[in-house]
Structures are given as structure tokens and as C-alpha cells.
Amino acid sequence: MKYIVAIIQPHRLDEVKQALEAVEVNLMTVSNVLGQGRQKGFTEIYRGAKEVGGLLRKVRLDIAVNEDFVEPTIAAINKGARSGKGEVGDGKIFVLDLADCVRISSGERGGIAIG
């Protein structure tokens, strides 16, 4: 089992979600987050006071999958989140080992509880 965390551009969320559904990955947690990478932030101006390098809005996806789904999931996120030929700021995907998973409604454990 793997735990996949993806940080993507907010406006790519729909494409990523469609690409994931196409490979039957339907369960995910989505949140609004702030961050900065190589892209750096915008400069904001309030009554002449410059606020440099504010954090950028990003969307974070948390997805837990069984081994068979790991590569298709990564490929789907990559496909959906990349703008054009790929630009700075498109985001990152992190893949972590997942020790266990519990479905709260039934108490099932492990791989069967994921999907």
C-alpha cells in the first residue's frame, strides 16, 4: 500500500480528477493549501505598501492505493496536472509507504479497506 500526496495547481484539479477516475481511482481527499516552490510568490500592493513573495494557492490531494494502482495513479496525476509541455509551478507528487488502513464503518483492515 502506498500513500500518495500530490500538490497541484488549483485550476488543474478537474483534469486530475477526471484522469484519476479514468483509471478507477475514485477515493481522495482534497484540500486548499498555500505554498511556494521554484515559482516563488506574487508581489501584492496595498496602498503603496509592497508585500513581496506571498505564498501561492495550491491544491493538495491525498490518495491511498494498493500496489497495483500506484503507477496508474502517478501517471494520471501527471497527465492531468501538467500545463502544456510542463511549467514551473505545476507541482509535485510524493509517494510514501503506508503501514495500515482501517475502514471505520466496518472495522476492515489493510488492502481491502482502501478501495
Binding site: I45, Y46, G48, A49
Partner: protein, 411 residues
């Protein structure tokens, strides 16, 4: 008595109330950080409660009541609205009930101390704020209103022109705001960490409501539904439009982008500057007043404040003090009897004397207002302490002064 005049002034009173709540409350509320928005809304709201009572109990009598002899203050003869009833008072407004004039003026007395909130936002103790506001209204606003507007007031007798409150409302509150900003000191972390407005849509909504309500403030000050009200309405509108556009253009040139906060701030500067002049100048000169209002206030807010380093949190001085002073001087330049026979001609219409009177106003009023504000500050600071504890400031005034928070993050 005239029912049309009465209806217009009653409606104008409601419009001016709307300038404080919700107008100013949301203008200022959007500009502070999210942890302090309720403190601003509460301060604006409670000012309406406190000053309305102060006004009918004794404030109106001090400001507009029969003069005590020296043109300095009204007597308490009209305290508790004694002699203030349905019959018109011809000295102030011959065609509407005296009570209507009184309640219209009440709304001015309310918004003036509310404007000062912008200077001490995000760091003043609520108890100190209440005492300060009551004292300031009684010791600064009421006398000043008497000097300029009250029968027998010494500046009125001198020939001072202030149609709707450039001096009485905006210069007085603006200069008091600067005094308080300096005396209270900067907010924790000022100029070291970002202070982003937490909700600019609130701020723009607030300015839109101010613009809307200002027609009551300015055109209502004609105290009748007549040609003078029409002139004040039109001059108010075009000066505001010119100032909003000018500020946005200056920013575009100076910073590379026109901001909505800039356009909104410029509009307020225009509203402030046209306030003393609106019933004395013609619409074309009003446009000119608006353009220069934006320029002067931009310089004050963006350049001078940064240089001098005081923390006027929401620019109450830069916009109201500077804009009000310019408008008062501009009245001395552009006033013409062709617009208002009861007024006077200004410098550009062959009467330099009027300009000198207006100049005297922007010297006298700031000295008086700043001096009294200093005294009241020292008294209240000794009594309860003006500023919240540093840890309370960091947590935010909503939680520490009002025990509530504006936005829930989790159900």
C-alpha cells in the same frame, strides 16, 4: 414647514447613519487582519449606541444650543431635547421640524469619532475606547460643531464656510487620528511583517456604501429638497468619481497596477474633500477638487506616512485629515455666490478674504483637536490604559476584547 424638505432630511439622516454602520464598519473591517474584524464592527456599532444617547441628553445642546456668550459652547438649555420638538427652529432650518434637524445632526456626531477608529485599529482596549469616544465627542466634536455651525459660534460669525463638515467632521477626526497613532505607537510587528487586508471585498462594499450614504451627508446638508441639494449632490458625485479614477491612475503609473483598494481609497478622499465645498462650488470645479484630493491624499498615505513612520493603521489621517484640509482650502478658492447666495465668493471669484478665513480654519481646528486629544489620551491612559497587552494584541482583539471570533474554520 415643508413636507418635501422634511422627507428629504429624514431620508438623509438614515443615509448618514448607513455611512457608519454598515459603511465605515465594513470599510475598516475589511482592512484589518481576520483576528480583529469584530473589534472594528463592535466599535462602529457601539459608537452609534453611545453617541446617539450622548447627543439627545446633552451633546446637541452643547453644539447647537443657545450660545453661552463667547461663541465657545452652547448652553444646556436644550439638554434632554428641551425646546427641541416639532416646531422648526428658523436659525438652523426653517422648513423642517427642529427634531428632524437634531436627529440629522446626530448622525454626523456619530460618524466623526467612528472615523478615528482607523488610527488605533488592532490595538486599543475596548474599555478605553468607550471612555475616549465619549470624552472626545463631548470635548472636541461638540465645541467645534458649535464654533463652525452653532448660532453665535465664533468661527461661524467670522464667516467660515463648511457646508457638510470638512472641518468639523474630517479635519477634526483626521488630526485626532494622527495624534492618537503617534501617542499609541505602532502595532506589534509593524513594517516587519505583512499586514494584509483580510477581506478587500468587504472594504469595497464599505466604500460603496459610504459613497451611497454621502449623498445624505452632503446633499442632505442643504436641509431641503431644493436647487442647493441638487448642486451638492452633483458636485459630490463628480468629485468622487474624479478622485477614484485619479488614484487608480497614479498607482498604475507609480506601482505598475491599478488596485481596487486604491480606487476605493481615492473615492473616499474625493468624498471627504468635496464635503465642505459641495454647496458652494460648481460641478466643474468639483472635478478639479476631486483630482487634487486623490493626489494629496496619495502623497500623504503612500509617501509621507512611510517616511515619518507613524502607524495610522487604516489611514484616517492621510485620507480624512489631508482630504478635509484640502477641501476646506478649496472652498476658499472656488466658492461662488452664483452657486449659493448664502455663501461667499472665494479667492478665484475676487474675494481673497474668504481664503484667509478658510486657512485660519485649518490652523485653529487641528491645534484644538490635537491638543484636546492629547489631554484625553493622557487621562484615559492613566485611568484604564489605552493599549491592550502585547499578548492580547497578538492573539487578536476579537477573542481578547469581545470573546468571539468572526470566522469558524471547523464546524
Amino acid at each position: 414647514m415643508n413636507t418635501g424638505d422634511t422627507a428629504w432630511v429624514l431620508i438623509s439622516a438614515v443615509l448618514v447613519l448607513g455611512m457608519t454602520i454598515p459603511g465605515l464598519a465594513f470599510f475598516y473591517g475589511g482592512l484589518v487582519r481576520r483576528k480583529n474584524v469584530l473589534s472594528i464592527l463592535m466599535q462602529c456599532f457601539i459608537i452609534v449606541c453611545v453617541i446617539s444617547l450622548q447627543w439627545v441628553l446633552f451633546g446637541y445642546s452643547l453644539a447647537f444650543g443657545p450660545d453661552t456668550g463667547l461663541g465657545i459652547i452652547g448652553s444646556l438649555k436644550w439638554a434632554g431635547l428641551n425646546f427641541v420638538g416639532g416646531q422648526p427652529n428658523a436659525d438652523y432650518a426653517a422648513t423642517i421640524p427642529h427634531q428632524v434637524f437634531m436627529i440629522f445632526q446626530a448622525m454626523f456626531a456619530i460618524i466623526t469619532p467612528a472615523l478615528i477608529i482607523g488610527a488605533f485599529a488592532e490595538r486599543m482596549k475596548f474599555s478605553a475606547f468607550l471612555i475616549f469616544t465619549l470624552l472626545w465627542a463631548t470635548l472636541v466634536y461638540d465645541p467645534l460643531a458649535h464654533w463652525v455651525w452653532g448660532m453665535g459660534g465664533w468661527l461661524r460669525n467670522l464667516g467660515a464656510l463648511d457646508f457638510a463638515g470638512g472641518i468639523v467632521v474630517h479635519v477634526s477626526s483626521g488630526i485626532s487620528a494622527l495624534t492618537l497613532a503617534i501617542l499609541m505607537g505602532k502595532r506589534c510587528g509593524y513594517a516587519q511583517q505583512p499586514f494584509r487586508p483580510h477581506n478587500l471585498p468587504f472594504t469595497v462594499l464599505g466604500v460603496a456604501l459610504l459613497w451611497f450614504g454621502w449623498f445624505g451627508f452632503n446633499a442632505g446638508s442643504a436641509l431641503g429638497a431644493n436647487e442647493l441639494a441638487a448642486n451638492a449632490f452633483v458636485t459630490t458625485h463628480v468629485a468622487t468619481a474624479a478622485a477614484g479614477l485619479t488614484w487608480a491612475l497614479i498607482e498604475w503609473y507609480h506601482h505598475g497596477a491599478p488596485t481596487v483598494l486604491g480606487a476605493a481609497t481615492g473615492a473616499v478622499a474625493g468624498l471627504v474633500a468635496i464635503t465642505p465645498a459641495c454647496g458652494f462650488v460648481n460641478p466643474m470645479n468639483a472635478i478639479f477638487i476631486g483630482i487634487l484630493a486623490a493626489l494629496f491624499c496619495f502623497i500623504a498615505v503612500v509617501l509621507i506616512k512611510t517616511k515619518l513612520g507613524y502607524d495610522d493603521s487604516l489611514d484616517a489621517f492621510g485620507v480624512h485629515g489631508v482630504g478635509g484640509a484640502w477641501g476646506t482650502l478649496a472652498t476658499g478658492l472656488f466658492a461662488e455666490k452664483a452657486v449659493n447666495a448664502a455663501g461667499a465668493d472665494g479667492l478665484l471669484f475676487g474675494n481673497p478674504h474668504q481664503f484667509l478665513i478658510q486657512f485660519l480654519l485649518i490652523i485653529i481646528a487641528p491645534i484644538f483637536a490635537a491638543g484636546m486629544t492629547w489631554i484625553i489620551f493622557k487621562a484615559v491612559d492613566a485611568l484604564v490604559g489605552m493599549r491592550v497587552e502585547k499578548k492580547d494584541e497578538i492573539v487578536g482583539l476579537d477573542l481578547t476584547q469581545q470573546s468571539e471570533s468572526a470566522y469558524t474554520v471547523i464546524e
